[in-house]
């Protein structure tokens, strides 16, 4: 048993039952929808149709608005060449295989190209006419060299699960999709270092590592679709960051191709290597603007056999902070996640998904704590002490503790199901922010007050704003501020932007904690980076990509 005798962790185990009787409980915010979970942030509500009304659910593909229409200020750069048949033939020559080129130039391939042209949120849509799927680093090199020589703009694309429109074209950029580069190259069981192609799907890598008793040091909602190369290129954060740190720490080496075709082989398998500028860090979080990552080496920790998850109700955000402090001191090295959800998010899950919440009473704040360790007895003893302490000192009002994987998933669904449920009314304004922990929730209150004062927030159809909610990775001071709305409304947008960015800048926070810049955050970099920093970044971009063909109209 996961939690042995000293501290018994009883809990509802409806999932076992639920799985047996699934038709009865089909609407749980569960793992089925996990890939939509936890990652969120962008500044516009979407799923709009041509009339500008917002619809819930999946709209037919044709209704996804072109990014170039949503962002009329972005103009196609005339320095880039238009793709011709000659270009296409050349690429076919490089790649050989029929299936590696989706050619929309010489024929109509709109339907085939559509999945590469638009994103999963149905918010961004480009005009690309050509998709290339190289299988080797050399092919990537040949493609990029040719593009660079012929001034053809490109968009590197992994699993296309991003939230800021970074992985889809804006105009007619060529999509270079890495999905065919999906081989695990090596794994050293002693050091735990994995070397793999960029196109390996995160979950595939993690499952491979699970068999070896290791774990990929990154976990996020989109794990079943996203690719590790894309994760590194966007410096994805996710659920395990509190425990294992960011990819800047875990990625040991990178193989990348520069726009001129140069293959940068820095696939180091060394933990220590102080020999000059550590250039791989430029590619981590570079969002494909200076080169395409084709392979990575990454240090993977031991997988923890003993995992526990607890879920608490708390009276205030101050208590949540206290709980976090106590969790760190009592659980120290086994604490692997500390997530915060406000009561509004939990009510929305209850309302939208129709699920019973783990706790009977209503609380303004909820926390989810995960521990991962090597010894179940040791962990549960620590947990027991922690739980007794926070209950006795009344930091925590009520709570439950999962005792097996099924329950762990159910409790995680209370956190990961939020994103999906928020979209119920139509659109969501999403912000992914780093804010000093003590001020984290103040922003949510401030934004809610603004909408209330302006008379935009209310319970019936006449109000555009449904609610203002906050949740996030408390352990990382990362707040997801979400504003579910009934319809897209300029008045709403004006109330939040640039207010939120200014608020965050005043607190010296970041306007994009883990989702990156892409198309949506590009105009706002200045709120988090100084002019000097932006100038230096531009210099770097220019020296790696003088022609500017790499993922244009984004990032900087």
């Amino acid at each position: 048993m996961a939690v042995p005798s000293r501290f018994v962790a009883p809990m509802r185990r409806a999932s076992a039952v639920a799985r047996l009787s699934s038709p009865l409980r089909h609407c749980r915010p569960g793992f089925q929808a996990r890939w939509t979970g936890n990652t969120s942030a962008t500044s516009e509500p979407h799923q709009q149709d041509a009339k500008g009304t917002v619809k819930g659910g999946a709209a037919p593909a044709k209704t996804v608005k072109f990014t170039s229409d949503s962002y009329p200020e972005i103009q196609r750069d005339s320095k880039f060449a238009k793709i011709t048949q000659e270009h296409v033939d050349h690429f076919k020559g490089i790649l050989g295989s029929e299936s590696a080129v989706i050619d929309g130039v010489s024929q109509d391939a709109t339907d085939d190209i559509e999945p590469f042209n638009s994103d999963w949120m149905r918010k961004f849509r480009g005009h690309a006419k050509l998709v290339l799927k190289p299988s080797t680093t050399e092919e990537v090199s040949k493609i990029l060299k040719y593009c660079n020589d012929n001034m053809l703009a490109v968009v590197p694309q992994g699993g296309n699960t991003g939230l800021v429109g970074g992985s889809v074209p804006v105009f007619d950029e060529i999509v270079i999709n890495l999905s065919k580069m999906n081989q695990i190259r090596s794994f050293d069981e002693v050091s735990g270092i994995l070397v793999a192609d960029a196109g390996v799907i995160l979950e595939v890598a993690d499952n491979f590592l699970a068999e070896k008793g290791s774990i990929f040091p990154l976990d996020l909602g989109a794990k079943g679709s996203c690719q590790i190369g894309g994760n590194v290129a966007t410096n994805a954060g996710g659920l395990r960051l509190l425990r294992y740190g960011s990819l800047h720490g875990n990625v040991l080496g990178i193989e990348a191709v520069l726009p001129d075709g140069t293959i940068v082989d820095d696939l180091s398998k060394l933990r220590k290597n102080n020999t000059g500028y550590d250039l791989k860090h430029l590619f981590i979080g570079g969002e494909g603007t200076i080169g395409i990552i084709t392979g990575i080496s990454i240090i993977c920790p031991q997988r923890s056999p003993a995992v526990n998850v607890a879920y608490f109700g708390l009276e205030s955000f101050e208590q949540a902070q206290k709980a976090f402090t106590e969790a760190k001191s009592h659980l120290s090295e086994i604490l692997s996640a500390f997530e915060m959800m406000d009561g509004r998010t939990q009510k929305i899950i209850q309302k939208v998904a129709g699920t019973k919440l783990p706790l009977e009473g209503d609380y303004p704040f909820y926390c989810l704590i995960e521990t991962s360790g090597s010894n179940a007895d040791h962990d549960s003893e620590k947990l027991q002490n922690f739980l007794e302490h926070v209950m006795e000192t009344e930091i925590v009002q009520d709570g439950v503790l999962a005792q097996d994987q099924t329950q762990i998933q159910e409790l995680w669904a209370c956190r990961e199901g939020i994103t999906e449920c928020l979209g119920h009314w139509g659109g969501v304004y999403k912000y992914d922010l780093s804010i000093p922990i003590s001020r984290m929730y103040d922003l949510v209150n401030d934004v809610r007050d603004r909408f209330t004062e302006a008379g935009l927030l209310g319970d019936d159809e006449s109000f555009p704003v449904v609610d203002v909610v906050g949740y996030g990775h408390m352990g990382d001071s990362n707040l997801h501020l979400n504003v579910p709305v009934r319809r897209f409304d300029k008045k709403v947008e004006k109330m939040i932007e640039p207010y939120v960015y200014e608020w965050v800048a005043n607190e010296k926070g970041s306007i994009s904690a883990e989702h990156g810049l892409g198309v949506t955050k590009r105009p706002y970099v200045g709120y988090s980076k100084s002019e000097t920093m932006i100038r230096l970044m531009k210099q770097i971009k220019d020296s790696f990509d003088p022609n500017g063909i790499m993922n244009p109209y984004k990032y900087l």
Binding site: M11, L20, V396
Partner: protein
């Protein structure tokens, strides 16, 4: 009649989750249980929940809810769970994993416990998800010579009268009988509650009595012999094809076209 004295037998089984894949041991005599996650049999959670709900409904006073489990020391974990969900006390009958009881053995034991505890209602899962025998409830009713209602999807108690609804092929069947009786639970009976932290703490102080088969004067020598335990046949892996032509070729090769 003064009130309900409910006995809820529960079993510790390998956790029901896709993450836990049961493995057959080398000797092909059983499923490997060492270092595998365990928890309460889900049908037994329904039994506990129903007992607690009967108390909460207040239609008929519930004097006592007693949970019982026969198994290794770790079975005490699920007894604590049961008490955190609302059972008043529990009995652990120590049985080593290698000497696991068969349904008849369990039923004999439960009969003794029913006599000892003066229970007048036994609510138990219709089956355990590990052995899937689905016999214990019926055998117990036979040994006690009590009426039984199996696979209950609704239970109503009014005084001595008990009405049980069961979902059967093509409809529902309603049974009415009198206490004492045996009820086995089915999935749609209720949705078990989460046990809260305060209740988990209270449960630690609730009495847990430790017994052995000897205390009940039982000899539970097995009557059945497991000949062999094997894995289901392995699924054949799929084949990836490069393109549509490749797929058509493959389908032709397999005679599917």
């Amino acid at each position: 009649m003064s009130g309900l004295r409910i006995l809820v037998p529960i079993k510790r089984v390998i956790d029901y989750t896709p993450q836990v894949k049961p493995r057959v041991n080398r000797a092909q005599t059983a499923v490997e249980t060492a270092n595998v996650k365990h928890s309460m049999n889900p049908f037994d959670e329904l039994s506990i929940e129903e007992a607690v709900r009967l108390r909460e409904r207040k239609a008929t006073p519930v004097e006592e809810i007693v949970a019982i489990s026969a198994g290794p020391a770790k079975a005490q974990d699920i007894l604590r769970t049961a008490m955190a969900m609302g059972a008043d006390r529990s009995i652990h009958v120590q049985v080593d994993e290698k000497d696991a009881l068969e349904p008849l053995g369990v039923a004999k034991l439960l009969k003794k416990v029913v006599d000892e505890q003066k229970s007048n209602l036994v609510i138990l899962g219709k089956q355990s998800i590990d052995d899937d025998a689905g016999q214990t409830g019926q055998m117990l009713a036979g040994l006690l010579n009590w009426p039984q209602a199996t696979q209950a999807s609704k239970v109503e108690v009014e005084g001595e009268k008990v009405t049980v609804t069961r979902e059967v092929d093509g409809g529902v069947e309603t049974l009415r009988t009198k206490l004492p009786m045996v009820i086995t639970t089915d999935l749609r009976l209720n949705e078990p509650r989460y046990a809260s932290l305060p209740n988990i703490m209270k449960a630690k102080k609730k009495p847990l009595e430790k017994k052995t088969l000897k205390d009940y004067g039982l000899d539970a020598a097995p009557r059945l012999k497991t000949v062999k335990v094997t894995d289901p046949p392995q699924r054949q892996g799929g084949v990836k094809v490069e393109d549509v032509d490749g797929m058509i070729g493959k389908l032709k090769e397999l005679g599917a076209l």
